[in-house]
Amino acid sequence: MEAKTKDLWVFVETKEDGSAKNVGIELLNPGRELADKQGGKLVAVVIGCGVKAAVDEAACHGADQVLYIDGEEFRQYSTDAYVAALNHLVETYGPTTMLIGATPNGRDMGPRLSSRLQTGLTADCTGLAIDEETGCVAWTRPAFGGNLMATILCTDHRPQLGTVRPGVFKKPEAGEAKAEVVKVDFSFPAESIRTEILEVIKETAGELVDLEGADIIVAGGRGVGSAEGFEPVRQLAEALGATVGASRAAVDAGWISHSHQVGQTGKTVGPKLYIACGISGAIQHLAGMSSSDVIVAINKDPDAPIFGVADYGIVGNLFEVLPALTAEIKKMKG
């Protein structure tokens, strides 16, 4: 397909209540830069039910235009309805580039859409730029479990599609809404949705785990030794107003739920401060947290790879360090 415009689209995924998920707003930040270089508009695309909140949010975070589709059949994500809606929008407006958050739904929808549009899709990107030579988007992403980075181009097919990892880019500052808001009429027959959602279970009810939005994360790994071993980690997190994270080893051992997991198969985070307690620093873990502004590592083993990325490292027993650290911070905060 030929692109009809030089516009760059950001797909803004909505929650059930019609507000925007973080990642869609985050992507307006790199989206702005790419759109300016491409010489087209930055367009936010919102699909859902009762999506005024998401439309407003996209409008005041830098979008030039917001295209939205609103309908009961889009309240819950379904592959069939969402891919049909996006396919319709792309065929009608012809963007040259589209960014999609690499959430479970984004990674379900992106490939299905690329296959229907017969175009290229780069998965789970962590770096975005415009290649000077071709003018194409240079999509950079980790592969081989984070051991290798690859930069990928889609030169001949349009639109160029990419899913982008949540938590890699920061949200742009909110400002005055200047976007042109366009409601697009599109409906999808509910009976044509071939997947029926029987129930939705939020595992974190009562205990909010917002790793991607956290300013500070205190994370525990194999070194905490048991479910009880997370207690000093939790106490430090509480003293700092931080969120508790975990490595895959701790999650696999059953000491803490998967929603806390940071790393290649968990969440990618970029807080101001990441405190890694008893985490050795396998490449799969580093892939999820190495873009943190400041990293503190506490580990018994002076040769642990985590110290290779840490700004400050303490070699010592975390069960001695953490209580002392918690007490000191409480004292300081008075």
Partner: protein, 266 residues
Amino acid sequence: MKAIVCVKQVPDTSGVVAVKEDGTMDRAAMATITNHDDLAAVEAALRIKDATGCKVVVVSMGPPPAEGMLRELLAMGCDEAVLVSAREFGGSDTYATSQILAAAIKKIGVDDDDIVFCGRQAIDGDTAQVGPQIAEKLGMPQVSYVAEINVDGKAVTVKRLLEDGYMTIKVQTPCLLTCVKELNDARYMSVGGIMECYQKPLEVYNYETLKDDPLIDVTTIGLKGSPTNVYKSFSPPVKGAGMMMEGADKATVDKLVSILNDKHII
């Protein structure tokens, strides 16, 4: 019914990762394994076979040595294997790969009550794209990130993982499911299975076998048919070492807190 399972042979990225001087992965120097998520998909299919006696067909696209992996899966209890292998297929990105695999699955034949299984993602490419792209080409409904499966005739009920929980979804066959490794623990090959696996059918589909399918075209397969191309690859940048402090005593903790405080980090 039958289960068709797509599997990939991948380098083991959990052990020592060999990188060549030019920064690319030295695949030859690494052990190969069956991709974890795909193994969960195979086990899921075998459990349905245990319960219903259905047939399980494994299909893999790759170079001829991938036959060894397919024999192992036959030894686990799969009934038939198909190796999709041709020079023309080399260099395919996910779009081209899914075109070829979809054509191979059509050749195997999909009945009304069949399920196609894939892993969520392969540990080498990490894209999670091939499954949904195959589903699109076959016109099937899909459910990705599947962590539990119950089959009742043509109704399939699955648990799909989300960022903050899960949902239960009901879908009718024929459908495509992409499985996560948390779904199950795969069984071992049995001694009897190893004895039998060389008698089981293993077919090779090459370019000739599939070329009449409309999905197979020079513009849709191999390096030339791939919309995306790797422009360069490199090792991830390593951050310089930071400040190390020894000991778990109060002096160390005080020092850290005062640094973080001075820099307005906490």
